[in-house]
């Protein structure tokens, strides 16, 4: 398949992570964190997702570049090909 799933997935998690981090930073110390035992769950988890999304995206881009750098011979119908 020509679309490496890691790219859109990385993008999505990066965006979600970004939103959570910004929201968490903006609401830092707010009363809404009483329910999560005083942990700023938005900020902390936002950062985790940011790192995860970023890693996925970078891996995906690298995989795709490598696939482009090594042009495959035209695969006849039904042949086996590795995605990345």
């Amino acid at each position: 398949m020509n679309l490496d799933l890691r790219i859109p997935m990385g993008l999505m998690f990066t965006l979600v992570g970004l939103i959570l981090t910004v929201f968490g930073a903006a609401t830092s110390g707010s009363a809404i964190y009483a329910r999560s035992l005083g942990i700023n769950a938005n900020l902390d988890w936002g950062l985790v997702l940011l790192v995860f999304g970023g890693t996925m995206y970078i891996l995906g881009r690298r995989g795709q570049r490598r696939a482009l750098a090594a042009p495959r011979k035209a695969a006849p119908e039904g042949t086996v090909r590795r995605g990345h």
Binding site: M1, P8, L15, L20, I32, L37, I39, F52, R81, G83
Partner: protein, 597 residues
């Protein structure tokens, strides 16, 4: 949440240009990498029943629920990867019913294809209904609806229509590839949404040791009291558990259900197809911590009670704020609320006058309790994602089986590939419309969901015997398989009709013919129904086959174990072979069982 929907449909659009032949649409061009298919393999199964149901069982039975994973899934996944996948993938069959036609005959396939098609449509309808109900119960959209001036009753309709449009959108555009990609996305979303919940919940009760201290012992030990049915929360003894769940039910599901097999068949080579269930087994092994643990944590948490907070406001006046939980919350245990009657709004009581607990709300109420605004959105999206991944898997399995096994075989043979591709797309629309009809039917008849699931279990229980004999005994004949399947189902129906779990009334729970035997729990009854169905099918197939003439051996190459050359693995170093991975998995599963024994 919106962002997620945009990405989901975006993937569908991005993949649309690759969908040129029916093979691309139904089989993802057989070109996907193994890790993606592996994650989709478990994600397809990670539907509503899984997340909500396992959390509920966790709250009800404790860590013993992990038997559904460590006994009820991993061994079967290893088996399908090592022994069965070569036949599915190597036979060039495009679906599980098609494999039955190659191995046995047309009627066995028709029987399997029809029952399977009906089941997928109903299951996705049930998923849809459960999701809409949950959204309604959680009141997540209430604010939006009230501010838009819309009646709250529309939330149900909106949830159904929205989920239908999204799932339809991405499958219509991108076929199986799109469904698989989205399943992987949903897999990560579910982890992203539930992992922080488990971390916060565990911290709240003081870690694993705190959890152990606040719960009865049987909750945190999965093997305690398993020697006798009356001494463990599941009400099942070891033999019923190992044979019923560990063998018949789990092998029947993981080894024959096209819903999961289709993802493995989408890989690029037989080796990778064999690897898919094995890769899937790794995260599957740790899923109990993600879906069962929240249930335990919900039970262990303190039950909400009226709290009064006194503080001094800016002007110096003393303000008292009292938060009063609803009656259902206060009557519940931990964070699991009591069950209320949807019509009267009253708390439902059991026979001894204690309030019944609504275990299905264990995970949702955990989310609402621990997550602040922001990450709560992520948690709810994860919950919705789990519903949709279950639905999508059913829909793609339906469109493939309908198009290849019913339409192409019995309605219109020999049409162009473009015709079948279009048919597949429209089958998707049809399947989703039928699912919606099921979802609405479920609102009208209270018991329809339970009844449907019961009927599925009758049809599914004997299936594995047919595949086992088909793949490993070359004498098995088409007539044997067909008659065996039917008598297995009949045996399941009869067994259910003649036994009853203790404390249940004859009817939907069994005993509607005559009550000959009482089981300690409905789970035990369920396992034994499966054992009966399997054994009947197994014996009848053998007996009928011995009277008939087997297929010539030349026709069975690639379909039966003894006539198929061993998969060529010489080019792989020993630790890269699927078998090596399987051994590692087995060791891990045994270790987990020992740790939580």
């Amino acid at each position: 949440m919106l962002l997620y929907f945009v990405f989901v449909l975006g993937i569908g659009f991005a993949l649309k240009r690759f969908m040129k032949t029916s093979k691309d649409f139904f089989q993802a061009g057989r070109a996907l990498p193994a890790w993606i298919c592996g994650l989709a393999f478990i994600s397809a199964n990670l539907g509503a029943q899984e997340v909500i149901g396992m959390g509920a069982s966790g709250a009800k039975y404790g860590i013993a629920t992990s038997h559904f994973y460590w006994i009820g899934a991993i061994p079967a996944m290893i088996f399908v990867g090592i022994f069965m996948m070569p036949f599915y993938y190597g036979s060039k069959a495009r679906s599980v019913p098609e494999f039955l036609r190659l191995r046995f005959d047309e009627k066995t396939r028709a029987l399997n294809a029809c029952s399977f098609a009906v089941m997928t449509v109903f299951s996705s309808g049930i998923s849809m209904y459960a999701m809409a109900r949950l959204i309604q119960t959680l009141h997540v959209f209430d604010y939006l609806f009230l501010s838009a001036g819309l009646p709250l009753g529309w939330i149900f309709h909106l949830s159904i229509i929205l989920s239908a449009i999204i799932v339809l959108g991405y499958i219509f555009l991108g076929g199986l590839t799109s469904a698989i990609y989205n399943e992987v996305l949903q897999f990560f979303l579910i982890i992203a949404g539930f992992l922080p919940l488990v971390i916060i919940g565990l911290r709240n009760v003081g870690g694993w040791s705190g959890l152990k201290a606040s719960l009865p012992q049987a909750y945190t030990h999965s093997w305690q009291g398993m020697t006798h049915a009356n001494t463990n929360p599941l009400g099942v003894e070891v033999f019923g558990l190992a044979m019923g769940l560990g063998f018949v039910l789990s092998f029947g599901y993981w080894c024959t259900d096209f819903l999961v097999i289709q993802t493995a068949m989408a890989t690029d080579s037989e080796e990778n197809a064999r690897r898919v269930p094995l890769i899937a087994a790794i995260p599957k092994m740790f899923f109990p911590f993600l879906v069962i643990l929240p249930g335990l944590l919900a039970i262990a948490a303190t039950t909400p009670h009226p709290v009064t907070v006194q503080r001094t406001d800016a002007s110096g006046a003393i303000v008292r704020e009292t938060t009063i939980p609803t009656q259902a919350e206060a009557e519940g245990q931990g964070l699991v609320p009591a069950k209320t009657n949807p019509l009267s709004g009253k708390i439902m009581l059991d026979a001894s006058g204690k309030p019944l607990l609504d275990y299905d709300l264990a995970i949702p109420s955990m989310l609402l309790h621990y997550f602040p605004t922001g990450i709560l959105g992520l948690g709810l999206t994860a919950l919705l994602a789990s519903f949709m991944s279950g639905m999508a898997g059913n829909v793609t399995a339906f469109n493939t089986v309908w198009t290849y096994d019913l339409y192409q075989s019995y309605i219109k043979k020999g049409a162009t590939d473009a015709h079948y591709l279009a048919m597949g797309r429209w089958a998707t629309v049809g399947g989703i419309l039928l699912s919606m009809a099921t979802a609405y039917a479920a609102t009208g008849f209270n018991n329809i969901m339970d009844t449907l699931q019961l009927v599925f279990s009758f049809v599914n229980a004997p299936l594995f015997a047919t595949f086992l004999l088909g793949m490993f005994w070359k004498r098995a004949t088409g007539n044997g398989a067909f008659i065996g399947l039917i008598s297995g189902t009949v045996a399941a129906v009869l067994h259910h009709g003649m036994t009853l779990p203790i404390e249940a009334h004859p009817g939907l729970h069994g005993g509607w013919i005559a009550v000959l035997h009482h089981y300690p729990s409905d789970m035990a009854q369920n396992f034994w129904t499966a054992i009966w169905a399997f054994s009947t099918n197994f014996l009848v197939t053998i007996v009928v086959s011995l009277f008939g003439k087997p297929k010539p051996e030349a026709e069975l190459v690639g379909l039966v174990h003894s006539l198929t050359p061993k998969p060529e693995l010489g080019h792989l170093t020993w630790w890269r072979r699927p078998e090596a991975l399987a051994v590692v998995l087995l060791v891990m599963v045994v270790a987990l069982n020992l740790i939580f024994r």
